[in-house]
C-alpha cells in the first residue's frame, strides 16, 4: 500500500506555489492555551479527580461521586485508620502518625534474616515467617531482605521447588541456568556447566549456557 519515492522524483512540486486565498485553516494548537473558559472547580461542580485541594487549614475540596464536595481533614485522615490524626492542610490534608515513634501502617521491616514484620493499623508490628510466606507461594525461602529503596520483603526462589518434568530450561539470571531435574528446579552456574566463564542465553530454544 505504501510506496516510497526517492527524494527529488517529483521535484516539480518544489516550485509550485499554491494559491491560498481565503484559505480554510484547521490548526492544531498547543495545549498550553490561555483559556478564559470557566473552570469546573467550585463545590457542586462535576469532577473526576483523585486530588484534593485545601479550602481552609482543616478542610479540602474533594471529588466524591463525581462532584466537588467539602470535607474536613479529620474525616479524610480517619479513612487512613486509627494511626493517623489531622495536622493541617498543605495542598491536601496532612495526616500525621498519632505515635510518631511507632511504625507506619502497612510498612514492612526485617526483624531478622527469616522474619518480616508488617505494621498494622494500630502501629503494632506483626511478625511473619518468610518460610511460611514463601511456602504459601509454592516457593523456597531466601530470606528477609531490604532493597536499595529501603523496602523490605521476604525473597523467595523457585530453586528446589517442584516442576513438571517436561518443563524446558530457563535462564535464572545472566549467569545461571535453571533446569527441571527429576521434578525439582535445579540451578547451575553456566561457568560450572561450561568449565569457563559463560552466560545464560535466553534466546535459545530452549535456553542454554553459551559455552
Amino acid at each position: 500500500m505504501a510506496r516510497r519515492i526517492q527524494p527529488g522524483r517529483l521535484g516539480v512540486t518544489q516550485n509550485l506555489l499554491i494559491p491560498l486565498i481565503l484559505i480554510t485553516l484547521i490548526t492544531l494548537i498547543t495545549a498550553c492555551t490561555e483559556s478564559e473558559l470557566p473552570l469546573l472547580d467550585q463545590l457542586g461542580d462535576p469532577c473526576r479527580s483523585a486530588y484534593d485541594k485545601c479550602l481552609t487549614d482543616d478542610t479540602v475540596r474533594s471529588c466524591e461521586a463525581g462532584v466537588w464536595v467539602e470535607r474536613d481533614c479529620a474525616s479524610v485522615c480517619a479513612e487512613l485508620g486509627p494511626a493517623y490524626a489531622p495536622a493541617g492542610c498543605d495542598r491536601e490534608c496532612v495526616c500525621e502518625l498519632v505515635d510518631p515513634s511507632g511504625c507506619t501502617p502497612s510498612e514492612a521491616t526485617c526483624v531478622d534474616e527469616g522474619t518480616i514484620a508488617v505494621c498494622d493499623e494500630g502501629q503494632v508490628l506483626q511478625p511473619n515467617s518468610c518460610s511460611q510466606i514463601c511456602a504459601d507461594a509454592a516457593l523456597h525461602e531466601v530470606g528477609c531482605l531490604t532493597d536499595v529503596a529501603g523496602e523490605s520483603a521476604c525473597w523467595c526462589t523457585s530453586e528446589g521447588t517442584g516442576c513438571e518434568p517436561s518443563t524446558t530450561p530457563q535462564c535464572v539470571d545472566q549467569d545461571t541456568l535453571g533446569s527441571c531435574e527429576g521434578g525439582i528446579w535445579t540451578f547451575v552456574e553456566c561457568s560450572t556447566i561450561c568449565g569457563a566463564p559463560a552466560a545464560c542465553d535466553p534466546f535459545r530454544l530452549p535456553a542454554a549456557c553459551g559455552c
Binding site: M1, Q14, L25, T33, A137, A153, S158, Q174, F203
Partner: protein
C-alpha cells in the same frame, strides 16, 4: 516521539492563524493511497509510519463515513525545525494546520496524525469543538475528563476553547452512541452544536447533564496496545521471538526518536515476576487499558519497579523504560501488556526477545 510532543506543547504559545502561506518547496519523498508526503526531517519515515497514517484515514472513513476526495499533500518538519517555520505556514504557537482549499497539511512531526484526521474529515466549517475533538480522538489520543464544561466551550474558536473537554466529550459520544452518529454530527458542519438534537435526540445541554453524571475519568487512545501479539509457547515457558527491523519494508516498523520501534503485545496469565531479556537497545513496557477508566488515578499510584498502566501518564501514555540489563525481573499484573522494542539508527536489524516467569530470588508479598 511522544516525549517530543509533550516537550513541544510545553514550549509553544498560541497566536492568530496565518491567512495564506507559500509552498514549502520540499520534494515529495513518499506516496501512499491518500497522501503525498514531503518531509524536512533528520530521519526517514518508515513503512510502518505510512501504514499508520493510512490506518487513521481508513478508520475515519469506516467509522464516520467521511473520506478524502483527492490526494492530500503533507509537508512535515521536525519539531525543532517547526519552531522556526511553523508560524510561516500556520501561525505562531501551532503544531500544524490543514487547508481544505489547498488540500494540504503543514505540520510538525508530532502533529501529523492529528492533522490527518482534519484532512480526512473535509468539512470546512465544522464547529471547532467537534473538529478538534474528532482530530484528537481519531488520531489516537487518550482522553481525560476536562477542567471546563463542554457547553462553555461549544461556541468558542479552536484557540479559545482549550482541549480537554472536547476530546473527552467526543470520545464519550463515540463510546455511548457509536461512531455512525458522530459522523452524522460532523456532516452538520457549523450547525453541529445547534442541531445536536437532530442526531442524538436530546439537546446539547441535556447530553452534558448525562455526560457529567456517567462519563468515566478517562478513555485509552484508539491505538493503545494495537501491536501484533507475541506467540505464547505455553504457560510455563513464556514468549520468545526474533523481531525484524526494516524501516523500508516492515509494516510495523516506525521511527521513534533517533531510532526505530516495533510494538508487540502479550497477555500475562498470572500476576507475578517475569524475566525480560532482549538485545534491543531499550524497551518500553506498559499494561494495557481494557476499556474506559472509571477510577481517577494519582500519578504516584504505582511503584517505579512495577510495569505501569498505559493510562498512568497524560497526554502521552505512560510506560516503563528499561535498558542495559541482560535479564531484568519485573512485576506484572495479570492482563494484556505492550512492549515496544527500540533500536538506535535506521539500518535494517533484528532483535531477540524472551519473556518468561522468573525462577530466581524475588520479593513476595504476604497473602492477605
Amino acid at each position: 516521539m511522544q516525549r517530543h510532543q509533550r516537550h513541544m506543547r510545553g514550549l509553544s504559545m498560541v497566536s492568530l492563524l496565518a491567512a495564506c502561506e507559500p509552498s514549502p518547496g520540499l520534494p515529495i519523498s513518499y506516496e501512499t493511497e491518500h497522501l503525498r508526503i514531503g518531509a524536512d526531517l533528520e530521519h526517514p519515515l518508515c513503512a510502518g509510519d505510512l501504514v499508520a497514517f493510512e490506518q487513521i484515514i481508513r478508520r475515519v472513513d469506516e467509522e464516520l463515513g467521511l473520506s478524502m476526495t483527492s490526494k492530500v499533500d503533507v509537508w512535515i518538519w521536525s519539531d525543532e525545525a517547526w519552531m522556526v517555520v511553523g508560524k510561516e505556514y500556520c501561525g505562531p504557537g501551532t503544531l500544524g494546520c490543514t487547508s481544505y482549499r489547498g488540500n494540504v497539511i503543514y505540520t510538525s512531526v508530532s502533529a501529523v496524525e492529528h492533522e490527518l484526521v482534519h484532512a480526512a474529515t473535509p468539512i470546512p466549517r465544522l464547529t471547532p469543538f467537534f473538529a478538534e475533538g474528532l482530530a484528537d480522538v481519531y488520531s489516537g489520543e487518550q482522553a481525560r475528563f476536562g477542567h471546563s464544561a463542554p457547553a462553555d466551550a461549544l461556541e468558542l474558536s479552536a484557540i479559545a476553547m482549550g482541549r480537554g473537554a472536547s476530546t473527552h466529550f467526543v470520545m464519550w459520544l463515540r463510546e455511548t452512541w457509536g461512531s455512525t452518529k458522530l459522523g452524522e454530527l460532523a456532516r452538520l458542519g457549523k450547525m453541529a452544536g445547534s442541531r445536536f438534537e437532530d442526531v442524538y435526540g436530546l439537546s446539547f445541554a441535556e447530553a452534558q447533564t448525562l455526560y457529567f453524571a456517567e462519563a468515566p475519568w478517562g478513555y485509552p487512545g484508539l491505538d493503545t496496545c494495537s501491536g501484533a501479539p507475541l506467540d505464547l509457547e505455553d504457560e510455563f515457558s513464556g514468549w520468545q521471538a526474533e523481531v525484524p527491523f526494516d524501516c523500508e519494508t516492515g509494516q510495523d516498523v516506525r521511527v521513534y526518536g533517533i531510532g526505530l520501534m516495533v510494538q508487540r503485545t502479550f497477555v500475562i496469565p498470572v500476576a507475578g515476576h517475569y524475566s525480560v531479556s532482549t538485545d534491543a537497545d531499550a524497551i518500553l513496557l506498559s499494561r494495557c487499558a481494557t476499556g474506559p477508566i472509571e477510577e481517577p488515578l494519582r500519578s504516584d499510584a504505582f511503584s517505579d519497579d512495577d510495569v505501569p498502566p498505559t493510562y498512568g501518564g497524560y497526554p502521552s501514555e505512560e510506560f516503563g523504560f528499561y535498558m542495559g540489563d541482560p535479564v531484568r525481573d519485573l512485576y506484572f499484573e495479570a492482563g494484556k501488556h505492550q512492549i515496544s522494542l527500540l533500536v538506535m539508527g535506521y539500518e535494517p536489524d533484528a532483535v531477540n526477545l524472551s519473556i518468561w516467569p522468573s525462577l530466581g530470588p524475588r520479593p513476595v508479598e504476604m497473602e492477605h
